[in-house]
Symmetry: C2
DNA sequence: ACAAAAGTGTTTCTCATACACCCATGT
DNA sequence: ACATGGGTGTATGAGAAACACTTTTGT
């Protein structure tokens, strides 16, 4: 790796972090899964939206920088959110102002937890359904970052417990199913409730899913579902990949 | 992300790439899966082994830098090898000479394809079984990189076609099984040949696995296996995760 | 009363594992 | 001849999907 002769290295690049913040919001199945985009009011720039991001400070880890980016751009304390490194984008030509490597991250949050009130800019960040992303309107290579982030989450939802990162602390089986439908495949909504429950039975047996013992409040028609609480490690995985 | 006022950015970091090169070599199941390590002959450095890596040139992509690292450290043209970005390690304290971000990569190769004759250094790189890695003897945070690389490949082998990257162009079912055993779980060697074939039946039906029509040459005792050729996209995935 | 959503139980079918048997090679 | 490894076929069992039926809500 590094040539060991030199005792000091002359910096040649700038480090940045960009964060793809995902959430689930009450909306149609197609629009429920949403991502946080920051408007760029600069009149001279062609692209008018970007992912929240900052330059990495001298003595800052990437994780710290990513959480600071969210604090600065949305005004919310991101200390406890799930955050994972996605990939690093650093094509020599991606930024005209010099070589910038963007260490992109994925954050998963419960939308209840956010009230967006930006600190640094006057234009607040906005939620955007992943099915309605203005691809051609994104700054830098943020379209590529976003595409990879979406693929990563879509893949991970089948074997890791990402759903529980996005759902509120208490939820019903329908919520769980709807979350999966929004991210991965709406056709699971056709599945019978019976079969859905059977798939989560092992989680219940393992005490990872705990029945709260109460019913949800009625939401329009139909019988309200039983409430559950997730009580497992949020970074855990399913025994086997979900069959859907 | 970047503050758009500035028109030039002052570099604050150095970019490096490190590559975890995996291969399969003829050895016991426990030792078949191996990784490439570069000796560091410097007498004053405590750690005496490292991953192959270089500093990223000004007008170079990470992919290009990674392949160059292999060329320089092992003397082999890595143009066609499978290469994937793993993660970026850039703790502010990882290198005493300044802030260095290492964009680590994973490379998968067929060991037949390599003759190691290093260009830059006089000490040639060496293969090391992943079960016998000198963890405490690795430079920088290369132990952490290696750990993540191993986990990534171990996980990916169940749903992606990484095995076919590591196997020679023509192979038998036993080779396939042995490859999986070396990376993931030796207990598959106890499985009956019948069941192994059934798991690959879908691949054969889909023309991704093609029977060459010949037998392998005898290797010691027992009937030699039928030969197969892989004829699918190397970046493809299994329909469902392998059950093992 | 009825439609809509949720919960329970049973049936069916797919597929992974287990097992029994045949084939080809080296000693 | 026989031990060893590879190939073919069938049986068994777990689990996913399909289906029938009951329970709870709003209109």
């Amino acid at each position: 790796m590094l040539s060991v002769r030199e005792h000091v290295l002359t910096p040649t690049a700038t480090l940045a972090v960009d964060v793809v913040v995902f959430t689930l919001r009450p909306d149609t199945v197609e629009r429920a899964w949403q991502v946080l985009l920051v408007p760029r009011p600069d009149p001279w720039s062609i692209s008018r939206r970007a992912l929240p991001g900052v330059l990495v400070d001298e003595d800052e880890t990437f994780d710290e920088a990513a959480r600071r980016a969210l604090l600065v751009k949305t005004g919310i304390d991101a200390r406890d959110w799930y955050l994972e490194q996605l990939a690093t984008f650093g094509s020599p030509t991606r930024d005209s102002r010099g070589r910038v490597a963007s260490i992109s991250h994925i954050a998963l949050i419960q939308s209840d937890n956010i009230k967006i009130h930006p600190v640094e800019t006057d234009s607040p960040a906005e939620w955007c359904p992943v099915t309605a992303i203005p691809w051609s309107d994104l700054a830098f290579d943020h379209a590529a970052i976003l595409r990879e982030a979406i693929n990563r989450v879509r893949g991970k939802v089948r074997y890791a417990w990402v759903l529980f990162q996005l759902l509120p602390p208490i939820f019903t089986m329908s919520d769980l199913r709807a979350a999966y439908a929004a991210i991965r495949d709406p056709s699971v909504l056709n599945m019978s409730t019976s079969n859905v429950r059977k798939l989560f039975r092992r989680l219940i047996d393992d005490q990872a899913l705990v029945a709260v013992g109460k019913r949800a409040e009625a939401r329009g028609r139909g019988r309200p579902g039983d409430l559950f609480r997730f009580d497992g490690p949020l970074t855990g995985t399913w025994d086997r990949e979900l069959p859907w």
